[in-house]
């Protein structure tokens, strides 16, 4: 049942079924402050709740801080 993901280049194991949004919150990210790519595809903001993480997913999370 365990899933192995790659998150920002590092191995990560996941024991439960999680949506991208749940995963981000669990990892301490605010989903509104990041852009995310899964297996080379950028995830639209509207899909964060419906996308469920799968074994082998390669995830890139880019967090933005304020200022410009």
């Amino acid at each position: 049942m365990g899933k192995v993901l790659k998150v920002n280049g590092a191995d990560f194991s996941l024991e439960r079924l999680l949506s991208l949004r749940e995963f981000l919150i669990e990892q301490g990210y605010n989903p509104d402050h990041v852009a995310t790519e899964i297996n080379g595809e950028v995830v639209p903001k509207t899909a964060y709740e419906s996308v469920v993480l799968s074994d082998g997913d390669v995830i890139e999370i880019v967090r933005f801080v304020g200022g410009g």
Binding site: N30, D32, H33, G40, E41, V42, K45, G66, G68
Partner: protein, 199 residues
């Protein structure tokens, strides 16, 4: 004195670059790209020039109260009148992204808030697969200049900044570091326009 090769000059002249947000980052990116002769610039911002902008943004006293798009268009006309400047004085919402940026080679994300940055980058990359995005994250304060770098984080996403220094009380946005970050963004745009994809 033009010391560029005709080949480089031609690539820049045919390039179309969009800049979203004309604050401390975007105003300097726009001026840099105008000076090197990027053929078409799209400037997007819904704000007017305010006194509090003059500590780091490329505007003058005479621009106070004027839309940033117009103030910058006027300056570029005085720097390099050969640049074709298009302006859109609108607030960029998720549903505008395709209409605004379709057909551009590169879009610079130069917004202020975390939410706006994340929204724009996600929408642009997910809906415009040919667009390259050069974004910014982390340039507040007076930490080391060398903490600011350019990274390629996704196939079409480059991020400039230190990734950490959020604008906060006691650590505001200050001209030198904001300009360093804008310089990183403008140089990454230049590299992409001449055909270099690595940072």
């Amino acid at each position: 004195m033009d010391v560029d090769t005709p080949e480089i000059h031609g690539k820049l002249k045919n390039a179309k670059v969009a800049i979203a947000g004309l604050g401390g980052l975007g105003s300097h990116i726009a001026v840099s790209l105008a000076r090197i002769g990027v053929g078409m610039l799209l400037l997007v911002d819904d704000d007017v020039v305010d006194l509090s902008n003059l500590n780091r943004q490329m505007y003058f006293i005479k621009h106070l109260g004027m839309p940033k798009t117009q103030a910058l268009q006027e300056q570029i006309e005085q720097i390099n009148p050969l640049v074709h400047v298009k302006i859109r004085t609108v607030r960029v919402e998720d549903h505008h992204v395709v209409e605004l940026f379709e057909g551009y080679d590169v879009m610079c994300e130069a917004f202020d808030t975390q939410e706006a940055k994340a929204m724009l980058v996600s929408a642009a990359l997910s809906r415009l697969p040919d667009l390259k995005v050069v974004a910014a994250s982390g340039m507040a304060g007076y930490g080391s200049s060398n903490g600011i770098c350019t990274e390629r984080r996704m196939k079409n996403l480059y991020v400039c900044g230190d990734g950490e220094a959020d604008a906060a009380a006691g650590m505001g946005l200050m001209a030198p570091r904001v300009q360093i970050c804008a310089g990183h963004q403008a140089n990454m745009v230049l590299r992409l326009l001449v055909g270099l994809e690595d940072v």
